[in-house]
Symmetry: C2
Subunit: 278 residues, 2 copies
Amino acid sequence: MSNPEASRTSRGPVIGVFDSGFGGLTVLRELLPLIPGAHYIYLGDTARLPYGAKSRETIARYAVSSAQFLEQQGAELLVIACNTATALALQDVRLAVTLPVVGVIEPGASAVAHAAGSAKDVLVLATSATVQSHAYHDACLALGLRTTEIACPLLVPLVEEGWGDHHVTKEVLRIYLKDALAQCTPSAVLLGCTHYPLIKHVITSVLRELASDAAVIDSAHATAHAVTAQLGLNRRGHADVPATFECFATDSTDKFQRLGSSFLDQEIDSVTLLDLGG
Amino acid sequence: MSNPEASRTSRGPVIGVFDSGFGGLTVLRELLPLIPGAHYIYLGDTARLPYGAKSRETIARYAVSSAQFLEQQGAELLVIACNTATALALQDVRLAVTLPVVGVIEPGASAVAHAAGSAKDVLVLATSATVQSHAYHDACLALGLRTTEIACPLLVPLVEEGWGDHHVTKEVLRIYLKDALAQCTPSAVLLGCTHYPLIKHVITSVLRELASDAAVIDSAHATAHAVTAQLGLNRRGHADVPATFECFATDSTDKFQRLGSSFLDQEIDSVTLLDLGG
């Protein structure tokens, strides 16, 4: 499935997807069954991850270099499959390339608004940089929602350590969520980082323990549907042609294959090492 | 104290010190009172931190660019104040610059050998990349020690979250140290990451709880003395001239000033933003 030569002969669109690392593969996982015949070029900027605690200027520089690489590779549409990069660099990326760009923030905000229904209080869990940007606050406000944003900087390291189901992760979530629930009574919780879907069940379980019945929403599914909409419904055909993908990473390709497979929920056959000059 | 113009008029040596981020400031803290009259140029490669989970090739590329910058700034001696960069890139750095280079691994190994005394079992706590390099194992073996190396990838994020004294950090340490003490009975434990001295008291407390009376050693002090030795005793004068320093960082200088002050244990007046092209 990840044979690029075979894939490039398919008739679907070529879509570039990038993230600071592995998290964006949760978005690719949603995209693969949705647009048959598409070819995906995924880039994980693993040499410079994580983005979540870095400054706007640095994140924008990194995101633009990833976007330009994917444009050069022939992408017709670009997905920023990273909340931090979308929150801080969506406009910079749009100015730097000539192709349409879909981020995860607006689809995520729409999805949480839908889940919240007539209730208007939502909680966003994200990295420090995403929270400080208030990008979710602004996108949710435009949809008439009241938003509380909580930074959860330890969740990415815990997921990457493979401690998703660990009692330490549960305890860290208790601390973050108790703090959040002291500030609001949300009817929906948005996972504002592409790593968090891997511990969605733990987040839901801790919310229930803390007597919250909030729905837990991730932006991966909503983002995949936003890509379909951007392409136009007439591009949704090719149901008999499977989607294909190829992967690039800026650091160890071995680690990308190993860790990435759990995010994508399928084997990654090969990864190409890429030097973005960092 | 961190006024570079005033400082450059001092008669002591100019010493470059670099790390992926803030941890190396624990080495600078030891150096400041030791070599009066010296001027230190500290570089934190914060745009690309952490190094601890990245590949040898990437870490070497980053370390060489930091070293070359410090050489261009007029450093006469270079300190790699980062265990991961020393473990994986000491030789690359020595080949890339013409000035003497001191790393933290050999001084750390000597210090733990001294602390272990006639007992020969030592435990090294470090990042994944440092452990995988077995640099401490090799340096300790050369001194006749038996070494167990344990990767502790969550400790850096916990320290950077400001959770040094938190019950979650204590629980994470219990997990790491129980695992380690099932494999060895060390007479000394070496903190093989420059972030760990900030939680030395918590590490010692958990060791005692687990019935280990091992001495806890960090390489910062030993590295500072190795720098003195490298410079020759005749350069140890200038007791009436205070040491000075200036700081460069590749990401947010605000964050560097704020977080760095706790590592250095004194105020950092100003930090200069640097673009290493990443």
